[in-house]
């Protein structure tokens, strides 16, 4: 455990120095650590694949609800890996899965976000409390300020929208950023000093 903590600390110091300083020695060390990180990530991908296959094979064996989806997943996983291994990851067959299936499915999911936002907004924008009324009012002003029709209704909508975004919203965003950046550094100090070591398997 102590060795793991020491390795984390030394590597983190090297990467921090690489970020702030220009030095050939530090750069060499930093780039080596980054390369090791890529190797570890590749091993982690192998572990993830084992986890995925184990869970879905059990689902198929036990014929759990929608087990057919697990079967499809295993077939696609094996066939895609096979195509990549035997035909290469730049072959048209390999790319077909990405361009013909994965990308359209990803785009579909992304497009669905609009509908999910609409249903969430419908609930959030009900003027039941002072907070939600303020949210509704500001939301309407910002939307009208962004849409051309807003300027036609009242010429000051874009001006008001710009002020809302640049002054109160920006102040809140900067407060969030400053707080999160400082909080992130504090988490880093806790992890690197070994105070937080749950990720290494050390319980409180």
């Amino acid at each position: 455990m102590k060795v793991a903590k020491l390795i984390s600390l030394v590597f983190a110091i090297v990467l921090i120095l690489q970020f702030f300083f220009v030095s050939d020695t530090i750069n060499t060390f930093g780039n080596t650590i980054t390369s090791w990180n890529i190797v570890i990530a590749a091993f982690a991908m192998g572990l993830a694949a084992i986890n995925l296959i184990r869970i879905h094979v059990i689902r198929i064996q036990l014929k759990r609800e929608n087990w057919i989806n697990s079967l499809v997943l295993i077939i696609v996983l094996v066939s895609q890996a096979g195509v990549g291994l035997f035909l290469g990851d730049d072959s048209s067959q390999y790319m077909f899965f990405f361009d013909g299936i994965l990308n359209p499915l990803g785009a579909t999911m992304y497009a669905l976000i609009a509908f999910w936002i609409a249903s969430a907004a419908f609930r959030a924008f009900k003027a039941r409390t002072i907070d939600s009324t303020a949210l509704l009012t500001v939301g309407i002003i910002v939307m009208l300020g962004n849409a051309p029709v807003g300027e036609v209704i009242w010429s000051q909508f874009p001006v008001l929208q710009e002020w809302l975004m640049n002054v109160p919203a920006m102040a809140a965003i900067r407060a969030l950023y400053i707080g999160a950046a400082i909080g992130g550094i504090a988490v880093g100090v806790r992890v690197l000093s070994g105070i937080e070591s749950g990720h290494l398997g050390a319980g409180e």
Partner: protein
């Protein structure tokens, strides 16, 4: 701008990093100073975080309903928000183990998987019920963002999760997961440092940890004096940031550019 460090030619500052480095050292110094103070018995009082208190309620509710708790440490790799999410996963795993509820942890980044497994296992061990740990509770879904979202949404719907905890770094999948949790009737607690996703969580979840609350939550939950000390150190760092903002703004209004010049170095 390049500067020599302490007049030494071994290293020079990277572009515009001089002041950033000084600030970084100061902030780390504040945090370490307060940790040392806490170690010496001066433990700071930190306010409770509503979302954090609700986690136990959510786990208890899931146990009573006989439905699982879903936990996502976000979609980021090993960044600060993910570590904060894993810190809270430790708390959730202990509570789930103590109550005897079921836990499902969905993972997007392969590198996070072994760490999450270790954290959950440790949580069960700490609760004294290591034998109750189910290796299938931590599930890798996909590294593809929307495949992860689709897989997790499917799990939440099929398993009808009673609690949906999303604590870490999230992108556009935040609204998809939160709305699915809402439709499943789950009590939802979310937290992220990604400001563009905060509005989605605020509109869909019961409790939201915004920005630094996410980083503080694990420390507050553990009541570990050293971790609480680090939170008090954050407050000193914030005073430093506010002082820079106020002095810089006032100085800029009087035409003095010394602070803004210093910030750009």
């Amino acid at each position: 701008m390049y500067k020599n460090l302490w007049g030494c030619n071994l290293m020079t500052f990277a572009n515009n990093q001089f002041f950033a480095f000084i600030s970084f050292i100061l902030i780390v110094g504040f945090v370490v100073y307060k940790i040392v103070q806490a170690q010496n018995g001066k433990i700071p009082a930190i306010r409770r975080i509503a979302g954090l208190d609700a986690i136990e309620e959510a786990v208890g509710r899931a146990t009573e309903m006989g439905r699982p708790v879903h936990y996502s440490p976000g979609v980021g790799a090993l960044d600060a928000a993910t570590f904060a999410g894993l810190e809270l996963l430790d708390l959730v795993a202990k509570q789930v183990a103590r109550y005897g509820a079921d836990l499902i942890v969905t993972i997007r980044q392969p590198i996070v998987l072994p760490i999450a497994e270790e954290v959950v296992k440790t949580g069960y061990r700490s609760a004294g019920v290591e034998e109750a740990y189910n290796p299938d509770s931590v599930r890798f879904i996909s590294q593809e963002q929307f495949a992860y979202a689709a897989g997790t949404m499917g799990i939440m719907e099929r398993e009808q999760v009673a609690a949906n905890l999303m604590l870490g770094y999230f992108l556009a999948e935040s609204i998809l997961l939160a709305e699915t949790g809402f439709k499943a009737g789950a009590i939802q607690i979310a937290g992220t440092d990604n400001r563009s996703q905060v509005p989605f969580f605020v509109t869909t979840c019961d409790y939201v940890l915004i920005g630094e609350e996410l980083f503080a939550a694990g420390a507050v939950a553990s009541q570990n004096p050293l971790k609480l000390g680090s939170i008090a150190g954050q407050d000193l760092a914030k005073i430093y940031a506010i002082a820079l903002l106020v002095i810089g703004s006032v100085a800029a209004n009087f035409g003095i550019t010394a602070i803004s010049n210093l910030l750009s170095k």
